[in-house]
Amino acid sequence: MDDFLQYLFSGLTRGAVFAIVGVGFAMIYNASKVINFAQGEFVMIGGMSVVFLTAQLGLPLLAAIPCAIVATAAVGCLLQRLAIDRVRNASPVTLIIITIGISILLRGLAEIAMGKRDYALPPFSGESQMTVFGASINPQSLWVIASLLLLMLFLKLFFDKTKYGKAMRATAQNPMAAQIVGINTRFILLLSFGLSAALGAMAGILTAPITLTRYDIGVMLGLKGFCAAILGGLGNPLGAVSGGVLLGVLEALASGYLSSAYQDAVAFVIILIVLSVRPEGLFTAQGAERV
């Protein structure tokens, strides 16, 4: 039982990270129908920028975090303007290849700037482990899970109450109609890339004290975030959250009880099964045209 709780907590923490990355995928997909394979690189840039700002420039952690999030959001906006915006109406295959190219490019730049070594960030609130029902919890895990909950609240308010959130939903539903009622869809696209990059950066910063960060950490995180988004039904941000948490927990249980060597395979086995049986995702109403 203690083991189970331990795996569950570890799974929730991982899952929260996949969920945040997955929401980023869903947001960009909604606004532009682009699957952004560079999403994982936002995670890496977030973590690495904080490392750079604190270690190299001597900024305090509290100042470095917002700077890193803003910087990553800027990278997301640049990506949209310099690449995606130039190939409107391109086929999904073309768009996939472009975003893969961008992810390789960003990873390469990070490799040149920071080398191939691992970097650690200090935990936000101390190292001491807490014990709950016999399972020890890293306080950083609580930061991760709390951030996910806050993020969900923020997204709910953003999409339901604010002008930009509503405009984003309208654009996702029908870009042409959105333009007719006066929504600047080009700006909405830019906004979705910026926001989604900021989310990725957040995930990267939150998780860096637990998993360390390095130039290629985004590859697996990005792919698993993509799994989370598809599990939840592409283009459904809250579905992506459920998908991510489910994936994280299953992965932790599988690596605890079955084999840790195959923990990275869990997400992909699940996704292959889901895609063959129910490609529209687990958390969407059936019948929506997804395939």
Binding site: I98, I100, G108, L223, I271, L272, L275
Partner: protein, 318 residues
Amino acid sequence: MSSPVARKRRVDPGLLLLAAILLALPLILPNRFYYDLSVKLMINAIVCIGLNLLIGYAGQISLGHAAFFALGGYASALLAERLGFPSLLALVCSAALVGLLAYLVARPILRLKGNYLAMATLGFGIIVSILVNQELWLSGGPDGKPVQAFSLFSFSISKVEHWYFIVALALLAAVWLALNLINSAFGRALRALHSSETAAAAMAIDIAATKARVFVVSAIFAAVAGSLFAYAERFITPGEAGFIRSIELVTMVVLGGMASIYGAVVGAGVLTLLGQALANFSEYKHVILGAILVTVMVFMPLGLVPTLRHMFKGAVAK
């Protein structure tokens, strides 16, 4: 215009040109290193020709083709080593096994389109890559696996100069096969499928079967190339199955030109040589690879060979 019947009989001029180049190349290759580089280049070209049938002609994506390449190599090596198969038989059987696997994978996932297909092939590739890394008893794990020398009628072929000619022949065969395939009813079905699945279905083309068939064909091209690679290098590592390797293969196809057989050869050539030229600046390799991929897709979405062909035709027309 010549009639279609007459065109069928004529050997493609590009094929003759390629044969001439491959035959003349050894005259200027200074040492074994360059022979080895040429062998790798041609092996990449064979994979890309198959992959281009899938991506360029049929419009389906695969982000996991390195898995078929590596499985072909490992299967050949294992059949020869553990079961004592003669080399050539091991190569043929490994290609058949990989083809069968591709068929089993294809049926459920090729119903998917675009982004979902990308995810499914990517997931398949990563699972294979993890398996190859973890199953030490079978694959030798991350350190790689030595491969027995290729032997034919009790002659053992291990010299790289000999491999050059074997792989060159295989490349010419691959080009010839692909050209024939493209100009057959099957090739026309592929292109119809690419432009509109609904219209193709209305013309009585069996969409699911056609997609599965092209997927299997492209997997077999990769498997045969993987076997040749394993035999020529006498060694194979899990890196050959990796996600990055799959992306590299897609990059070659895209750079050379979608829906162009010679484009696949050119793309494989350019990127293989570039990779070698950048070997001493390995930290810049990824930046340059990524930059090429993005620039080509944004500014030259057709790829090198089709773009140059259009420019050439335009110049002649003027």
